[in-house]
Subunit: 347 residues, 2 copies
């Protein structure tokens, strides 16, 4: 099955590029409001499911025991820009677990945010693992470990926590399986950018998991409470889940708890729309974030009740002006006809 075009890139008098993909919007009972393209093919959700992977951190009691606040819980769900506040918050989480950045197994990369790179350079410094966009998720795994291993020698016990069979990762994977309903023992497996496993899961199941996260329906009571707590944390500290200028931060700063959205690498986007009881999952076939963002903004525009100011803000993300190096508008990025029709029918 060839997926439809979700997003078109216009330049001058022509369509310059196009992005195909699939979109699932389902309710917590699994009924599909939108099934555009092949929503039953397993795809790697990558970082879009960090909130599902953070459920055990809260459900285990570790977050309360260590006194993690909104900023820290939001960072546990984040692909952050590696900005100073992100790095400091990850360091604070590790300190609460009695450890430091040496415990992190996510690897190091320069911050996503260009100005954070330039600030580091200007200060004569380089990046460390705290700047890795996944450092909050990993710091969350370290905090979870405090609940799983209550004795001495945590540092040694923790080593290798990114491996699929480590007790920490088994707990994380179990939450992913419980919330999506997918059988991860038989799912195609890959390794993520930060070295933890990523399991291929159909968009239909991912959207269902986010509908559950938004409503609590279909989750265990512990996971339902954890989902509520994590959504509240991200709504209270949306800067922590992404960062300066990033889609997730901008959207949740404006729309608060009405949308919980999260990008993943390679063109994935997931969201919970609690007010509608819906979950959303998008995969752009070619792995491009710009298209996944436009598709997600189009979904929000169609399905979330917005006042005029909010609507015009979301529209700038759904119908994106492309400017050149002289600031001249040279094109636009927007939903293609198939996506538009599907959303019109669902609205």
């Amino acid at each position: 099955m060839t997926n439809p075009v979700l997003v078109d890139v216009h330049r001058g008098a022509a369509i310059e590029s196009m992005h195909r993909g699939a979109l699932a919007i389902v309710d917590a009972d699994g009924a599909a409001l939108v099934a555009l393209g092949d929503i039953d093919r397993p795809i790697f959700p990558r970082s879009a499911v960090k909130v599902l992977q953070a459920l055990p951190l809260v459900a285990s009691g570790a977050a309360d025991r260590l006194g993690l606040g909104d900023a820290e819980l939001a960072l546990a769900c984040a692909s952050h820009g590696g900005e100073p506040r992100h790095a400091e918050t990850a360091a604070a989480m590790l300190a609460k677990a009695g450890l430091d950045l040496d415990a992190l197994e996510c690897g190091t990369h320069w911050p996503y945010l260009d100005s954070a790179v330039r600030d580091l350079v200007a200060a004569g410094r380089g990046p460390n693992a705290l700047n890795n966009n996944c450092s909050g998720k990993h710091a969350g795994f370290v905090c979870l470990a405090c609940a799983l291993h209550d004795g001495p020698g945590l540092r040694g016990w923790l080593r290798g926590y990114v491996e699929p069979d480590h007790p920490v990762m088994r707990e994380v994977t179990a939450a992913l399986q419980a919330s999506t309903g997918a059988d991860l023992a038989t799912a195609p497996r890959g390794t993520d950018g930060c070295s933890i496993p990523t399991y291929a899961i159909p968009l239909r199941a991912l959207a269902l998991a986010f509908a559950r996260v938004g409503t609590g329906t279909g989750l265990t009571p512990d996971h339902a409470r954890a989902a509520t707590r994590l959504r509240a944390a991200v709504a209270a500290a949306p800067y922590m889940v992404a960062g300066t200028g990033r889609f997730d931060t901008r959207v949740m700063e404006r729309l608060g708890a009405r949308v919980f959205c999260k990008v993943g690498a390679e063109g994935v986007y997931c969201a919970a729309l609690p007010g509608r009881g819906l979950g959303v999952a998008i995969k752009v076939d070619d792995g491009t974030t710009r298209a996944a963002e436009v598709a997600m903004a189009s979904v929000i525009e169609a399905l979330v009740a917005l006042d005029a100011t909010e609507a015009s803000f979301v529209h700038t993300l759904a119908d994106v002006a492309l400017s050149n190096w002289n600031g001249r508008e040279v094109g636009r990025l927007g939903a293609g006809p198939d996506l538009r029709r599907a959303l019109d029918a669902a609205a």
Copy 2:
């Protein structure tokens, strides 16, 4: 018509993403050796045609009159990384025309090369128009202007040279039309990142133009001499056409004059393979450079005579290992079955 998958992205046990597109490989008489996907739909070639846009710089006599050397002519065909040598060479071209960077209308952006950004910051500086990846092309336009306007007041006459109807741009567009055979008066037009017009042209015509550039067949004698000179300049100074770590530079440093290849924004790649008398043009539908590079490397691997060392080098570009932040190989990027079949049949 839905284009076939050119390039697959593998992760672990699954195909994570895929890139559709089209590929034309034709000889200088227009006979197609490969016609994969829709090669008759006009696409914006963007920076892939800089060598065609530089033909008047040489054909007009301006390059010789101003004493432009290999590095400068290669830079006129470049999308460079904004590194110090690139910026210095563009400044030298402008000085030969009696002007400076204020004449450039390409706009300013931070260098493409991350380490060049960090070097600028560490030196307490920001970018200027010389760091724009198109500064060499624009410096070439300024040099061309010296041949078109032989009197005083060049600076004033030059102003607005990026506009389609300016005498400089008319000359550039005429060369693009002559070499491709496309009727640009009726072609869809857009504005490029550096503010000059870009005209939508079918891949078949772009590949033909590159077969002509590689052989001289079908070009005017002046353009044929200019093409030979520009190809020789790029082969002599491949660092100038792109920069540190970039595909075009790496390939031409290794393969010299046997390949003239040039990337364009939004997933475009063009090449001349002079030894085979062929021109190549690729458009990845979704605009992704990583896929265009893999497709171009696959073409080179199939059609250019390579010794064992060269073949193993090109193979690293055609079958690309994807590593994560811990340096662990997590996936591969390579030609999909349709592209592989088409190239096997053509080899």
